[in-house]
């Protein structure tokens, strides 16, 4: 059954129906369809690759357990986004993140390892530049309060409408607009050198 599913494009609604029937192949399709999108959101909020992968994993397991209760009041993607955002903003994770921020050595070592592995394909200078740039962007994003960053990320990375963001975050549309505006103004200042460089 799973091969048949993989070979034909399935709408999200049809996918939900198959998932509710307990179709394992449909679940694999769901994972492949959404894992990168959910990772992007999780990374935009947590700014940590490994933690974001853990979150994505937990989201899919939760979806597997709760799909029977999904009443399609919102779309599948909105539901998935909401679970991901809630997982990211979960207070336990927040504390883990605070602790991890004080132990950056692990990630740095890991990045250095990747830097060495990839050096055959790309120049080391270029990779070093990318890494420094990444750190600058992360530092800029970290300056935004988490809930403002979340709204901004949902808009910038997923291109979600203000309505969808309001629905996912359970806030008013006016709040979405003001948070996006605030985030842009703040980042424009924090990341000014990078933005100027990008323009050239």
């Amino acid at each position: 059954m799973s091969n048949k599913i993989e070979n034909r494009p399935l709408s999200d609604k049809a996918l939900v129906r198959l998932l509710q029937q307990g179709d394992e192949g449909a679940f694999q399709v769901l994972v492949r369809r959404y894992q990168k999108k959910l990772f992007s959101i999780a990374f935009g909020i947590t700014l940590n690759r490994e933690e974001s992968l853990d979150i994505v994993q937990e989201v899919f397991i939760q979806v597997y357990e709760k799909i029977g209760y999904f009443k399609e009041k919102s779309s599948l993607s909105t539901w998935l986004h909401r679970i991901t955002v809630n997982r990211c903003l979960n207070w336990k994770r927040k504390w883990i993140r605070i602790i991890k921020f004080h132990h950056t050595a692990y990630d740095e070592n890991k990045d250095n390892l990747i830097l060495n592995q990839d050096s055959g394909n790309r120049t080391t200078d270029r990779l070093y530049e990318e890494k420094v740039m990444g750190q600058q962007i992360d530092a800029g994003l970290k300056k935004l309060p988490e809930k403002i960053r979340t709204v901004f990320i949902l808009r910038e990375l997923e291109g979600l409408s203000y309505n969808d963001i309001a629905d996912i975050m359970r806030i008013k549309i006016g709040t979405v607009k003001s948070r996006i505006y605030y985030a842009r103004q703040k980042l424009k200042v924090c990341l000014k050198p990078l933005v100027e460089e990008d323009r050239q």
């Binding site: 998932l19 509710q20 029937q21 307990g22 394992e24 679940f27 694999q28 994972v31 492949r32 894992q35 990168k36 990772f39 992007s40 990374f43 935009g44 690759r49 974001s52 992968l53 994505v56 994993q57 899919f60 397991i61 597997y64 357990e65 709760k66 799909i67 029977g68 209760y69 990747i114 990318e130 740039m133 990444g134 962007i137 992360d138 994003l141 990320i153 808009r155 910038e156 990375l157 409408s161 203000y162 607009k177 003001s178 996006i180 505006y181 842009r184 103004q185 980042l187 424009k188 990341l191 990078l194 933005v195 990008d198 323009r199």
Partner: protein, 164 residues
Amino acid sequence: MKTRPSECKDSLLSRYFDKTTTKEENLWVEAHLKTCLRCRKMMGDYSGLSRIIKQRVDREAQQADFLRVEKNVLLKTSNKNAYNVSGSFFSPRRLLIPVAVTVFLVAITTVFYPFKQKTPVSSAIIDSFSGETASVMIFEVPESGQTIIWYSENSEQMGDDNAI
């Protein structure tokens, strides 16, 4: 310190960038952008910001091990039962609370409810008098030692209300 011209509407520009402005607002912003260098620069900054953040996240996504995620998820879920719509009512978790409540109620009933059911108490008529207008009967309940005097008028409305 730079001051913005009074006609510039920064928050409107942010919404225009997101394509969420109305037709009238679009016309206003487009006309304004033709004459305002500051706002044109701001639009450029918004595009630049959007691009560098997307690139940043894409780079992380390229290095992320999604195959591992897929394997882990499929492995963990294969050991679990899906709570699908048809089977959800009988799922173990759903049954847990009703079963626990039933066990609790049974336990409470067992502890507090007396095992021996009281059998109807027998009574004996001690004496009875009948007249033209009324009748009286005297009962005695040996177990509780109660005496019941039953007075009954010989009318059409005679009934339980007349008991004393």
